[in-house]
Amino acid sequence: MPTMTVIEAVRDAMRGEMRRDPRIFIMGEDVGARGGVFLASEGFLQEFGESRVIDTPLAESSIVGIALGAAVNGMRPIAEIQFADFVWPAINQLVGEAARVRYGTGGRKTAPIVVRIPYGGGVRGGLYHSQSPEVIFAHTPGLRVVAPATPYDAKGMLISALRGDDPVVFFEHKRTYRLVRGEVPADAYMEPCDKAEVKRPGTDLSIFAYGLMLHYALEAARLVHEQDGISAEVVDLRSLRPLDTETILDSVRRTSKALVVQEDTPAVSVGSEVAAVIAEHVFFDLDAPVMRVAPPEIPPMPFSPLQEAAFMPSPEKIAAAIRELAAI
């Protein structure tokens, strides 16, 4: 099987699907000749032409609004938001409109758009190139929200997203783009957009993470296993909406302890919901508090390197929390 980075997997998925389905097109800032600022669509303009690879004006609300209109009229747009930090102007069209097209028309219309959003920090991006804005999407009925962490998941889930009929917000962690490499089948395959996955089985406690933090959690689990003999299960949430509560609860039923790890600030977040469903549904299986590892409650995230490092969770911080939780 070929190995790929996350960005290569994203590109591969889009290219394959665009070859397969003429309804799919990509629009966004610099997706054309530039190939996207992260080169997700490198070579697409040459292969698919200007009408399917549309460089838009700098105007996010219309990028999503126009994609929505095209989707309602039979197309399958991929809208690229250049950086997650710039998705805010598009929230109205995405959360207010796209999420509710199907519901608000009693199923008559549907808006199958895929909005790809490179997000996340640890890249010296400072306050406006590091944000993790998933909360508002993960909260919104009508959207599907995913955040694959591996090349395999990125390709398979993007293909599923493009073949499904719902609006999908597709989060790609910028730091994983070139950092994470893995085996990826050359052909098309679909990985579900609504299932978590146990990425490392364990017995002493369960760690829940997604995106870059999945990799940090895996690294931490490896560390504590080697150094302390602790067996930590690592669950990759992958889908932030719907949350795969079955897989989450099942894991906690087996390990009786839960640690939620996230890069986003903790108050009112995806991690809060993971903790809440555990506290509601498997309370009597729990042996310890539901712990969280997350950044401090300050705007994500300072540009200066020591501060950025202090802001981000790290394998070491996660390992420390594992040890603490295991000791309870």
């Binding site: 097109f25 009408s51 399917r52 838009t56 004006p57 105007a59 609300s61 219309s62 999503v64 609004g65 126009i66 994609a67 929505l68 209109g69 095209a70 989707a71 309602v72 009229n73 039979g74 197309m75 747009p77 102007p89 109205n92 069209q93 207010g96 409109e97 509710r100 097209v101 199907r102 519901y103 608000g104 028309t105 009693g106 199923g107 008559r108 219309k109 549907t110 009925p141 009508g142 599907r144 293909i159 599923s160 073949r163 499904g164 009929d165 719902d166 679909m190 990985e191 579900p192 957009c193 609504d194 299932k195 719907p242």
Partner: protein, 371 residues
């Protein structure tokens, strides 16, 4: 870019009142005097347009009554906008064009084939409401037969959406025009700017149809913009902008026909601003005496009611006798009465219905089933 303004105003312009800006639309349309064949409308067309306007007015008044009786929900009346809407729809082709409407468009919806019963089911939120299964405010959702829809009442969101609809047609090389309706208030929103700009860049077949009734709820035009006409924005995007007297159905029809022809010819979008008066408060929840004088309200009714204007137009051309006028009214009344009875007899949709259509059911092997 060609300079393009085929409708000239000639009549004298009345001075503005403190709240009502009247400059452009006070004048009347010279085309109104032209022979019909030259305009492209048959006598039956005119009569049909008139009948729809009267039906709209009759239904409009009924909804008001139902609201005042505590039965019907909030309603943004179309009274005063009828000629603009009927003229516009008549300039398009409902068998293939797309219509992104907004909430003040009873007449347009009737003209496109929505029935009074369907609409009343919406106002009473009853089962069988075809646009949104009574989940949305009345008049919102998607039409079962014509490509007419309104996803929300969030002002101006439909503008980029319409541009996207047209983009899809362009990609598939389908010969369809997208008409998007909005008010003067919507012109201030960022979405309107972004949508128009994109449509201009790609020369998309869109007609931006602005029903300028001089108010966004209580905010008069002078607090919404520092220019005379919204149509003047079009030049900054690179397509024609036209202001027409929206109380004159023929003037509107002509402007829209030309814009649609332009769109079909691949020449891109047009912005049409139809100057109308909103004869009633913003909605049934509003009270316009809070921000308008009695004189201003009277003046709007005197100058701005398109129905007597249309009646006179038909009478002047010998197309409407006094007796016929009565028949048209009676017929509308009967239709609306029947619809009201049926709508009131319908039950509410069952609670379980509300869980449907949040997500698609097209799961397939991806497991993307409904939640």
């Amino acid at each position: 870019m060609q300079a393009w303004c085929f409708i000239c105003f000639n009549g004298s312009v009345m001075p503005d009142t403190p709240h009502i800006h009247r400059s452009a639309a006070a004048a009347s349309n010279p085309l109104a005097q032209e022979p019909l064949p030259k305009i492209g409308l048959s006598p039956e067309d005119l009569a049909q347009m008139y009948r729809t306007m009267v039906l709209s007015r009759t239904l409009d008044e009924r909804i008001y009554q139902l609201n005042r009786g505590g039965k019907a929900a909030i309603f943004g009346s179309a009274q005063g906008h009828e000629a603009a809407q009927i003229g516009c729809i008549r300039g398009t082709d409902p068998s293939r064009d797309h219509y992104l409407i907004y909430y003040r468009q009873l007449t347009a919806m009737l003209a496109l084939g929505t029935t009074p019963l369907e609409l009343l089911l919406g106002f009473l939120a009853r089962e069988g409401e075809p646009l949104s299964m009574a989940r949305q405010f009345p008049l919102h959702g998607a039409h079962p037969r014509v490509d007419l829809f309104s996803f929300s009442n969030v002002v101006a969101t439909q503008v980029p959406q319409a541009v996207g609809v047209a983009l899809a047609d362009r990609m598939r090389q389908e010969d369809r025009v997208t008409i998007v309706f909005f008010g003067d208030g919507a012109a201030s929103q960022g979405d309107t700017h972004e949508g128009m700009n994109f449509a201009a860049i790609h020369k998309l077949p869109v007609v931006f149809f602005c029903e300028n009734n001089r108010f966004a709820i209580s905010v008069p035009l002078r607090k919404q913009m520092a220019v005379e006409n919204i149509s003047s924005r079009a030049a900054g995007y690179g397509f024609p902008g036209v202001t027409v007297d929206g109380t004159d159905m023929i003037a509107v029809y002509e402007a829209v026909s030309a814009a649609v022809a332009r769109a079909r010819a691949g020449q891109g979008p047009t912005l049409i601003e139809a100057m109308v008066y909103r004869l009633l408060p913003h909605t049934t929840d509003d009270d316009h005496t809070r921000y308008l004088t009695k004189e201003e309200i009277d003046l709007m009714h005197r100058e701005g009611d398109p129905i007597p204007k249309a009646a006179k137009l038909l009478r002047d051309r010998g197309l409407l006798s006094a007796a016929e006028e009565q028949t048209v009214k009676a017929e509308a009344q009967r239709t609306v009465n029947e619809a009201t009875e049926k709508a009131e007899a319908a039950p509410y949709p069952p609670v379980e219905e509300m869980y449907r259509h949040v997500y698609s059911n097209s799961s397939g092997p991806s497991g993307k089933g409904s939640q």
